[in-house]
């Protein structure tokens, strides 16, 4: 008997040490959490109960001091009743079956039980303090105790705890908590079967195992699972980011977010509302009836509306019971269990609300889930804002194109009218002075015409796709040379051409690249004094086809080199006053090259000349393909 007791003592001691360790870890992890607080109280009371049993057994083994035994019994009773009550409190909290003032009530009843037992211990200790009277029959003492209030506490709270874990087993979602509770209650019950100290020892052993299971369950739920889920969460966030950065449609991104949210939280339904002036419209659902789409929630009303208004997340454990406001969706109060609503904030603005719900029999959510959803909601808000900006930009671009067309149309007609009458006037005028004046008007009108054409060309190049034809850079420079040779000759510029030995093939629209090269050569001729040289060449190196237009012209000062590709930029330096143009030629070059995924840059020395480069990706040429 003695050996068994010793073994039981050691086992109990070890298990309790473990439970104490768990309690400390939980408290260290997050002592603000209710589940942690409740489980800590529970574990502490179990330790109290077991310590009582331990002292009781020790007192029987080593001493016969009645005072010590009574103190041990008092502690034992306190632990027994307290742990029964606190277990009930813990499982009720875990299942979410509690009411709003549950915490206060739980602490009040625990305090009451504790106070009552402390009073009992103190009063009995005072009576027996210093007394060395032997207690002849330990069984008698225990019987007296057992018949006291403890049985009442155990019967009420133990069976309630068992009932709750069974009734809300889906919500608790934690098998070890259910098993632990059952073992613990059975273990406590054994105390009352036969009031022998040996059985008391055994029952505390059994209950300690149950308590350890519960402790582990809480540890797993609070610390291990969130850590294990972190991986999945990172992966989900990654997926959402990809959906967003992939510039997929808003619908696709929102669907992805809804799916990930449901997966993360093991939720039964997800709804995403988007702000539409002073209302919120349901635009995406996951595992909710499709008829709910387009439902509107009023600003400030319902959970969704309030979350949008206050810009703060909300969590309810039981929508039907805890949410007092307007229902967000039809039958919400009847069918929703736990629910979290998170605002989709972008800057200071609420762009929508993410609502995640569990069914009545579904799981419970906790503040950690809210935190996770807030992570997702940030992504969703970015996606929504992106999509809105893209839509706005597209609309602006469309309006701009429309404006350009309209303006060009409206400008071209009066311009043509003026030009026609100028031509008529020229036929009728013979005075040299007037002819000179008409020439100036003519030049100005032509200049206007060039600007309008430049704007339209730029618009046209922007609208064109780069094309996917196979182009031969060598042929292209010859074509450009053919086009420009007359202008060069008229300007007394020597235009030369050089081509690489390799085939300079690239993918794109030959006509657009030709246009870009013509612009560069035209520019080079314009900015090169008479008797100067302009070289047009193409080389192939490092997988790139590079066109080079080099002149011996006036050069571009370093401070304006970065500006020359900007629209309407025209150089002001000395020596180019005579040069006319729209100021759009180089920005057309830039647009075309960028459309083709290429690079354009320049190198220049004032007074010595400028070299422009256009580099495009070299294309692999398969047999049978014809280049243009």
């Amino acid at each position: 008997m003695l050996d068994l007791r010793a073994v039981s003592l050691v086992v109990n001691g070890l298990i309790l040490a473990l439970a104490l360790g768990i309690m400390l870890i939980l408290l260290w992890h997050d002592r603000q959490k209710r589940s942690v607080q409740f489980s800590a109280v529970f574990l502490m009371l179990v330790i109290v109960w077991n310590s009582g049993g331990l002292i009781l057994q020790l007192s029987q083994l080593v001493t016969t001091n009645a005072g010590l035994r009574q103190l041990a019994e008092g502690i034992f009773d306190l632990g027994l009743a307290g742990s029964a009550v606190s277990l009930y409190v813990l499982v009720t909290h875990m299942s979410g079956a509690h009411s709003a003032r549950f915490r206060t009530l739980a602490f009040a009843s625990l305090s009451l039980v504790t106070a009552q037992h402390v009073v009992l211990i103190v009063s009995s200790s005072t009576q027996n303090l210093g007394s060395l009277t032997e207690v002849a029959d330990t069984a008698d003492v225990l019987t007296r105790r057992v018949l006291s209030l403890n049985l009442l506490y155990f019967t009420i709270y133990g069976s309630l705890a068992l009932f709750i874990v069974w009734r809300y087993r889906r919500k608790i979602r934690n098998r070890w908590a259910i098993i632990g509770t059952t073992i613990f209650v059975v273990g406590q019950g054994m105390t009352f079967l036969n009031p022998e100290i040996a059985l008391v020892a055994f029952s505390t052993n059994v209950s300690s195992v149950g308590c350890l299971c519960i402790g582990l369950a809480v540890l797993r739920y609070e610390i291990i699972l969130p850590l294990a889920e972190r991986n999945t969460q990172v992966e989900s966030l990654h997926k959402v980011s990809i959906a967003i950065s992939g510039q997929l449609s808003l619908d696709t991104v929102l669907n992805e977010i809804a799916t990930q949210a449901a997966g993360w939280l093991n939720a039964d339904g997800v709804a995403i509302f988007l702000r539409d002036q002073d209302e919120l419209e349901l635009v995406t659902t996951h595992q909710l009836p499709a008829e709910m789409l387009k439902q509107r929630a009023r600003w400030g009303r319902g959970m969704v509306g309030q979350v949008a208004q206050t810009q703060r997340s909300a969590l309810v454990e039981n929508y039907g019971r805890d949410w007092q406001g307007e229902a967000d969706l039809p039958l919400a109060k009847e069918t929703f269990g736990a629910a979290i609503a998170v605002p989709l904030n972008y800057g200071e603005q609420v762009t929508g609300v993410l609502l995640v719900i569990a069914g009545r029999q579904g799981r419970l959510f906790n503040p950690n889930d809210v935190y996770l959803l807030e992570l997702l909601s940030t992504q969703a808000a970015v996606a929504i804002a992106n999509s809105r900006y893209v839509t706005q930009l597209k609309e602006l671009d469309r309006v701009k194109s429309e404006m350009v067309r309209m303006a060009s149309h409206d400008l071209k007609n009066p311009l043509m009218g003026a030009m026609l009458y100028l031509d008529i006037a020229r036929d009728a005028v013979s005075s040299a002075n007037l002819t000179e004046a008409l020439d100036i008007i003519d030049q100005q009108l032509e200049r206007m015409n060039r600007i309008i054409r430049g704007v339209l060309d730029l618009e046209k190049m922007r609208m064109l796709s780069p094309g996917s034809g196979l182009c031969d850079g060598g042929k292209l420079v010859v074509r450009v040379y053919d086009q420009m040779i007359r202008l060069a000759a008229d300007s007394k510029i020597r235009l030369a051409i050089s081509r690489s030995q390799d085939k300079a093939m690239f993918q794109g629209d030959a006509e657009q690249i030709e246009r870009a090269l013509v612009n560069l050569v035209e520019n080079a001729i314009k900015f090169t004094p008479r008797e100067g040289e302009v070289d047009l060449g193409v080389t192939v190196a490092d997988g790139e086809v590079t066109f080079i237009v080099r002149d011996t012209g006036v050069g571009i000062p370093p401070d304006i080199q970065a500006l020359v590709f900007e629209r309407f930029y025209r150089g002001q330096q000395a020596g180019i006053e005579h040069v006319t143009g729209s100021g759009l030629g180089l920005s057309i070059v830039k647009t075309v090259v960028e459309n083709h995924g290429g690079r354009v840059w320049l190198e220049s020395q004032e007074g010595r000349g400028t070299t422009f480069f256009i580099a495009l990706k070299q294309a692999e040429v398969s047999q049978g393909e014809i280049a243009i």
Binding site: R405, H409, K412, M419, L420, D423, I424, D427
Partner: protein, 237 residues
């Protein structure tokens, strides 16, 4: 005297063009909108029509051109301030225009183009009395008649000129440049999309299957060739 109808909502342009054309001995009628232009076309039967594309009212230039093409082969020149892309020009040509000019245009070039267009439509009538008939397709160059399976087909002057040039060189490839020069004139050699549009329209009108042409064949990147068919073609009917 050659009668020219100008339809343009811009009074300055209308008046300046009319003034210049009158000096060059053309009879000119002007209209300020599409509906008025169509009315003038029906009552005055001009020899050439100049159309602006964007005009107020229900009838824009493109629609007006199509309405004219339903009933007549009169040469049509389009003037547009709006064209940005080649597609805009092709759209105009497909509506039946023989010429598509982008505003602003100077008087000198305008007059040259008008004369080239008139030359194109009149030259055809002076062609040799050559013709072609295989039973399915018959072409009478002198009377400017084309019949497909005995049914008369309306060709615009440019389309007819194009067909005549190809027929004269039947069996041989006519390259793009020559085609442009012969059909449209010296000043058109860079307008490479003209032949493409007109060839496809011609094919729609005369080929049994426009997507698998047998008469007008494309020589890739060179030009086009008219291929005479054996008289047994009648069996296809």
């Amino acid at each position: 005297m050659t009668k020219i109808l100008i339809v343009d909502d811009e009074q300055a342009i209308r008046d300046a063009l009319a003034q210049k054309l009158r000096v060059d001995n053309f009879e000119v009628v002007t209209s300020a909108d599409g509906l008025d232009g169509l009315r003038a076309f029906h009552t005055l039967k001009p020899d050439l029509v100049i159309l602006d594309i964007v005009m107020p009212g229900q009838l824009d230039g493109l629609t007006l051109c199509r309405r004219i093409r339903e009933v007549a082969d009169t040469p049509v020149m389009m003037l547009s301030a709006q064209a940005i892309t080649e597609e805009n020009i092709i759209e105009g040509l497909q509506a039946g225009a023989d010429e598509y000019l982008i505003k602003p245009i100077r008087l000198g070039e305008f007059l040259a183009r008008i004369k080239a267009l008139l030359r194109r439509s009149q030259l055809v009538s002076a062609e040799t009395e050559q013709g072609y008939n295989d039973g399915y397709l018959s072409i009478d160059l002198h009377r400017r008649h084309v019949h497909v399976q005995g049914r008369k087909v309306h060709l615009t002057p440019t389309e007819f000129k194009l067909l005549a040039v190809l027929l004269e060189s039947s069996g041989r490839v006519v390259n793009q440049r020559d085609l442009l020069e012969q059909v449209w004139g010296q000043e058109y050699v860079d307008d490479v999309y003209y032949p493409r549009v007109y060839i496809s329209q011609l094919r729609r009108k005369i080929e049994p299957d426009a997507s698998n042409p047998t008469y007008i064949l494309t020589e890739h990147r060179v030009g086009y060739r008219f291929e005479k068919q054996p008289p047994s073609m009648t069996s296809r009917a």
